[in-house]
């Protein structure tokens, strides 16, 4: 124990290898702190009882990433003019190598994305996870949902086929029926008196730049808040984080009648029969 052997050649070589591998990471960490950030993100603690329903948020994120990647590829072949849009869509679907796959994934990924957002929202509701201090994250979530639906609306026109065209005609007219702002919104979307070339480029720009940009920024904020505030334990969990005291004491049906008035946080909770 007392005598320390000098390191063997093999050990020395290994030490040098490790330093070499770590060098880029150390370099990055020293100059940006990013490695520490990623490490914090990965090794942060989450409640021990998180369950499968809590993967719906990251599932929605995956669907969004699929939309972003396939969307960029589609944009390489798609031409946003009334004369060429339809033919470029035909070309992507029928001729470009794996074009059908990319377009199909984008088309159906949109539906999957919307479904996952609704399911995720349902799970947040079920868990009561929108309550203090996560109110703001709920609002960010609803904004993402609205923007996601707007992506669906603007993307629908782009194939410039009959379904696309007439659904958009009616959609824009409906926006126009709103009081005060309606006519302005309709005018803005149409980019003129008639649905035509300018409408198509406007929808294209909204669909691939403005709205996705907004969604990406909001997802960033959403995830920041998730990491900062932590995720909620399932409400039925016996060891739900933060519920320790409430769970120790059984909740009487009518406090004071059949059982003694509870102490601790259960006592402070608004009594049974409260609203919502």
């Amino acid at each position: 124990m007392a005598y320390r052997r000098p390191p063997t050649k093999a050990q020395l070589r290994r030490q040098r290898m490790e330093a070499l591998v770590n060098y880029p990471l150390d370099w990055l960490e020293e100059r940006s702190g990013l490695v520490g950030g990623v490490r914090y993100f990965l090794f942060r603690k989450v409640p021990g009882d998180v369950n499968w329903m809590q993967t719906l948020g990251s599932a929605a994120l995956t669907a969004f990433i699929v939309q972003a990647v396939t969307g960029v590829i589609l944009a390489m072949y798609y031409k946003p003019t009334p004369n060429e849009a339809y033919r470029s869509i035909q070309n992507i679907t029928d001729h470009v190598t794996l074009g059908w796959l990319v377009r199909g994934m984008h088309r159906w990924g949109a539906s999957v994305f919307i479904i996952l957002m609704f399911l995720h929202m349902g799970r947040v509701f079920l868990f009561g996870a929108y309550k203090y201090p996560r109110e703001l994250n709920w609002i960010v979530g609803v904004l993402i949902l609205v923007l996601g639906m707007m992506e669906g609306f603007t993307g629908y026109l782009l194939p410039w086929d009959q379904t696309a065209y007439w659904a958009t005609v009616v959609g824009i007219n409906l926006n126009g029926t709103a009081p005060f702002l309606g006519p302005f919104i309709a005018q803005f979307l149409r980019a003129g008196q008639e649905i035509g070339a300018d409408t198509l480029t406007r929808f294209y720009s909204l669909h691939m730049m403005l709205i996705p940009g907004g969604i990406i920024a909001l997802i960033g904020l959403h995830l920041y808040l998730v990491v900062r505030l932590g995720v909620t334990s399932p409400p039925w969990s016996k060891e739900a984080a933060g519920m320790a005291l409430a769970d120790e004491e059984p909740q009487p049906l009518r406090p004071g009648l059949t059982r003694p008035v509870p102490r601790g946080i259960a006592a402070a909770r608004p009594e049974a029969g409260g609203s919502k």
């Binding site: 995956t62 159906w108 999957v112 669906g152 126009g176 933060g242 005291l245 919502k276």
Partner: protein
């Protein structure tokens, strides 16, 4: 175990104090008893993401393989619908306005309300109220309680919301479409029932094929949409040929806020035929 918040005898802590104390306890519990995100939660997330991507690829493949074949192009109706329909044509004579499925609930909502008294409720009123309620949820439901059995109002509200969304989406998906090929078969009946004069027949044909019946009903044919009125007796209002043509050319110029599309592209000749037909429609004779 975290201690209960200190307070003076008889003074209930405010709701916010209670919430803060609970959140502090939450943070402590997670620190003590939680598990690291990687690899535990991350493993679940990864499995789920793989499932999501597989489902998307699967849908894309079904779309392709059931609508594509040696004898037809992408307009063929596969299991998941055609890959594209005919090219957009602003001057077409028949179309079925249909949004993507996740707008069906809005789309069907519009059939419930009638123009002009309440259609506004369907287009903006109800959706706006629902959206405001959705945003405001955390401020309406401020109790700490999260267990479902202790949140009866929330559970009932959620169940009703899901049910009504499902019903509206289902109704929107199965709503009867007025197909031009079927509507045209009714034209002779119209002529007989309404005793239409000979010069109104071309207009009746146009009416049957130009997509009007996607929104309007006529002697029970067509589907009522966007609250558009029944036109069986439109002629009894004696609006006049000129008015009809002006309205068809640009409905929203004549009836402010009208969601009916412009039919200017049909051309003066055909618009006149339509107008003659409309003015001749005096109801069942």
């Amino acid at each position: 175990m975290a201690a209960a918040p200190q307070r003076h005898a008889g003074v209930k802590p405010s709701r916010l104090e209670e919430a803060r104390a609970q959140f502090a306890r939450y943070k402590e519990d997670v620190k003590e008893r939680g598990k690291p995100f990687y690899p535990y939660a991350m493993f679940h997330d990864t499995v789920m993401s793989l499932v999501v991507v597989s489902v998307i690829v699967g849908l894309a493949a079904i779309w392709k393989w059931t609508s594509y074949g040696p004898h037809h192009d992408g307009t063929h109706q596969g299991l998941l619908g055609p890959e594209y329909t005919a090219p957009a044509d602003p001057g077409t004579t028949s179309f079925v306005p249909r949004p993507d499925w996740y707008f069906y609930f809005l789309f069907y909502l519009l059939r419930i309300f009638k123009w002009p008294e309440s259609v506004f409720l369907g287009t903006v009123g109800v959706p706006t109220i629902c959206l405001i309620l959705l945003f405001a949820l955390p401020f309406i439901d401020v109790r700490r309680e999260r267990r479902l059995l202790h949140r009866p109002v929330a559970v009932v509200a959620a169940a009703l919301t899901i049910l009504s969304m499902a019903v509206l989406t289902w109704k929107g998906a199965t709503a009867k479409e007025a197909l031009a090929s079927e509507v045209i078969a009714d034209v002779p009946n119209w002529v007989k029932a309404e005793k239409l004069p000979q010069n109104a027949v071309p207009g009746a044909r146009l009416f049957a094929t130009a997509g009007c019946t996607a929104c309007h009903t006529y002697l029970g044919t067509g589907s009522s949409n966007l609250g558009a009125p029944d036109l069986t007796q439109i002629g009894t209002r004696n609006l006049g040929i000129d008015f009809q043509i002006r309205h068809l050319k640009c409905p929203s110029c004549v009836v402010p806020g009208s969601p009916m599309p412009k039919f200017e592209s049909l051309g003066e000749e055909r618009l006149r035929q339509l107008a003659i037909f409309l003015e001749a429609s005096k109801g069942k004779q």
